[in-house]
């Protein structure tokens, strides 16, 4: 061990030290900046960025190191062996290349991070000690193994930190100058710490004059020149990077604005912070009118706003889709599909929403028309089926009736005649009886056919039936612009019944109500109520139609009685039978100022089928 007193006492010029730290920070900043560019670029451009970035960053680190060495003053003149200096520069560039390569990969697992930082740390340490080896002075350099190890470990540690920071900051969407400056400062200080530990590891023992071949002394001017050159290189790198970034941003914006789609981004709560040109052009909104919640207020159809729903969707943080009408600049609304995906940070918090808005109006309209067509078809099919059934019934019943009438007529003719014998009337009268029986058998067979599906009785919640029917008829309500009010008493007793049959009754009553209400001027209004009554529940359907003429009130439940031009007069009659078979009662409670139909259902299972 060489005693400290034997070594040459070195001293630091602290202003130079400070300058070296500044260079370290600037180099770090450039490194972070370049990592982002390298990440954003692809293929050859990426290689170019990686190479140039490595050179700029290498020069920066090297300059810092060199500056740090120059800040160290020894009482003997120091010269530098320039080929070794160049070698140290090369090592710095290589180490930077490794760093940029690792930090710009799309994924960085711990092994990669560690390997990268060891390579990078070794590179920096190598550069440092090669640089020190370039010193030519009247002293031999001795190293303290402990501090050397320490400095190498520090280099590796610093490299790891640097890599992690660069990796984290490379996404340019998270780019912010203060954050990056902070990270660059930390990195710069770390680089400096490593450097000065390395410097401290060396002690200089006076010795014979060195071999000064290829050695140069660095005059103060050269000293500054190194610094200035390094800063210029770094500045050039950062400037190029920022110009490139701006260009690629412009390109991206051009793409986003000309894309045949409406593109936007929103903050985590759903307030917009970017709307592309197409969105603004469609809605005719200025940037100010659309941003924040303006897009909702100014473009979304009032009926589709349901802010709570939107907020819930945004709060849930899951990709979602919503259909809504957006107002075009000319005031017409069109249906759109909004699709949103969240971007998250490491903790899984949503930091931004990105989304598109696609015009689905034509599709939606086609769907509506198709649904309408299907409904019409179903209605026609029902009518045709009814017609078929009626004709089958007519045929089956008319045959025996024909025989009965004909035989009856024969008997009458006989009786009218001058002479007749009772015996010749026996056969036709027997046939009349037989055919009468046969006709009634046909009727009961048809009844049996219709009742084939024996009514199912389940304990059901009438409110649920009402809700289901409202869903089934939603289209009808919308099409007829019905203002619908539903007042359901909660916790009604359950009633035994056939859900399908009861739905049928409700659909009948509501469809009648829609038809009646739509026949008058003004908004058709329908009120559906459920309530508890003495022995069960009651349901009311009230419309805003013209009501029912007093003369007709007593006939409306009769089969085949109808007031509609195309009605067949079975709806209310069938409904009446259904409610009757449930042990309840269907009645017309009020016929003036809109009809009010009501049916009751007993809760005690009094229903008979």
């Amino acid at each position: 061990m060489i005693s400290a007193s034997a070594a040459l006492a070195g001293s630091y010029d602290y202003s130079e030290v400070a300058r070296s730290v500044v260079i370290a920070i600037v180099a770090s900043y450039a490194a972070l900046d370049l990592a982002g560019r390298v990440t954003a670029a692809r293929s050859r451009v990426r290689f170019a960025w990686l190479s140039c970035g490595a050179i700029a960053m290498g020069i920066g680190i090297w300059a810092m190191h060199f500056k740090g060495m120059l800040a160290f003053h020894l009482p003997v003149p120091v010269e530098y062996h320039w080929p070794t200096v160049l070698a140290s520069l090369l090592v710095a560039v290589l180490a930077s290349a490794v760093a940029l390569y690792v930090a710009s990969r799309h994924k960085m697992d711990p092994v990669e991070a560690l390997t990268g930082s060891i390579l990078m740390g070794a590179g920096i340490a190598g550069m440092h000690y090669i640089g020190m080896a370039a010193m030519r002075l009247q002293a031999s350099t001795q190293y303290s193994p402990l501090l050397v190890t320490c400095s190498i470990l520090l280099a590796i540690l610093f490299s790891l930190i640097a890599l992690l920071m660069a990796f984290d900051l490379r996404e340019e969407t998270r780019w912010s100058v203060p954050r990056r400056l902070g990270s660059a400062t930390v990195m710069g200080v770390a680089v400096s710490a490593m450097h000065y530990t390395g410097m401290a590891a060396a002690s200089f023992i006076p010795a014979s004059p060195p071999d000064l071949s290829h050695a140069v002394s660095i005059p103060p001017v050269g000293n500054s020149a190194v610094v200035i050159a390094a800063l210029i290189v770094l500045l050039a790198a950062v400037t190029t990077s920022s110009v490139d970034r701006r260009q690629s941003e412009d390109r991206l914006r051009l793409v986003i604005d000309t894309l045949p789609a409406m593109v936007w981004s929103k903050s985590p709560d759903g307030s917009a912070d970017f709307l592309n040109q197409r969105f603004r052009e469609f809605t005719g909104l200025s940037v100010e009118d659309g941003l924040g919640w303006g897009w909702m207020k100014n473009a979304v159809h009032p009926e589709d706003r349901a802010q709570e729903e939107w907020r819930t969707a945004f709060a849930a943080g899951q990709p979602f889709e919503k259909e809504a009408r957006l107002r075009r600049a000319d005031g017409t609304y069109r249906w759109f599909l909004l699709r949103a995906v969240p971007q998250r940070d490491e903790q899984g918090r949503v930091v931004k929403w990105y989304g598109t808005t696609t015009d689905i109006d034509d599709r939606k309209r086609a769907e509506d028309e198709l649904r309408q067509a299907q409904e019409d078809l179903a209605r026609v099919t029902r009518v045709v089926a009814m017609g078929e059934l009626a004709s089958a019934i007519a045929h089956e019943v008319n045959q025996p009736l024909t025989a009965i009438v004909t035989n009856g007529n024969f008997c009458l003719r006989r009786l009218d005649g001058a002479t007749w014998k009772p015996d010749e009337l026996r056969a036709p009268i027997e046939e009349i009886v037989n055919d009468g029986t046969r006709a009634s058998a046909v009727i009961s067979r048809i009844r049996g056919l219709l009742m084939k599906e024996s009514p199912t009785r389940t304990e059901l919640d009438i409110n649920q039936i009402i809700q289901e029917v409202n869903i089934l008829l939603r289209n009808e309500f919308t099409r007829n612009r019905v203002s619908l009010r539903i007042e359901l008493e909660p916790d009604l007793p359950r009633v035994p019944g056939d859900p399908v049959q009861l739905q049928q009754v409700l659909i009948n009553l509501i469809m009648n109500a829609i038809e009646a209400s739509s026949s008058t001027n003004g908004t058709p209004k329908i009120l559906i109520r459920s309530a508890r009554n003495r022995d069960g529940v009651l349901v009311q359907v009230q419309d805003s139609g013209p009501g029912i003429e007093p003369a007709l009130v007593n006939r409306i439940f009769e089969p085949f009685f109808t007031t509609k031009p195309k009605g067949i007069g079975m709806g209310l009659s069938i409904s009446y039978s259904i409610i009757e078979s449930h042990g309840g009662q269907l009645s017309l409670e009020s016929a003036s100022q809109g009809a009010l139909f009501q049916f009751t259902l007993p809760a005690n299972g009094a229903g008979v089928s």
Binding site: Q399, A403, I404, N407, F410, R413, P428, E431, R438
Partner: protein, 210 residues
Amino acid sequence: MSEPESIVFVVDDDPSVRSAIKRLIGSMGLQVELFGSAQEFLASKLPNLPSCLVLDIRLPGISGLNLQRQLAHANIQIPIIFITAHGDITMTVRAMKAGAVEFLTKPFRDQDLLDAIQHALERDRNRRQQEAELAVLRDRFDSLSPREREVVALVVSGMLNKQIAAQIGAAENTVKVHRSRAMEKMNATSLADLIKMILRLQVPPIEPVN
């Protein structure tokens, strides 16, 4: 049993209806024959008598309307009265256009059916009588010699004996002989009578040559 004067055919797949109709029509003293399907009817031998067909539209196998068409194709000119338990306007129009006498909806008034049957039989009787007369005329015409037919045709076309003689290259007296013999054979009492007969027979006229 004596030879019936006329006969009514009934095609209906319902035995009760068939039996009741038979009883009703029978009470009017008409002969009735029953069939359960169109095929049965087509398979039977039709007597040469004034007759009509009471036909149900809905039948198993060949439908009533279809049978009407088949009969028309086979040139069987029997008057048809349709009866149906579920007639609609299209069906009625089709049946009537194809020559049906009546279209009755079950259950029908007995008098309507009987009236229709009387009407149909009357129509058939007339047709048969005319056909018989025509057959006689045709026999008479067939008995004419070729020369006599030629002379008759020219007479009917309005030529004088002299002109006919010139056209066929015979003496006027010869033409007169042919003419009077033809009148005799045709049993025609006057020229007008002869012309009427030839028109009914639809003999193609011979154009005079000038």
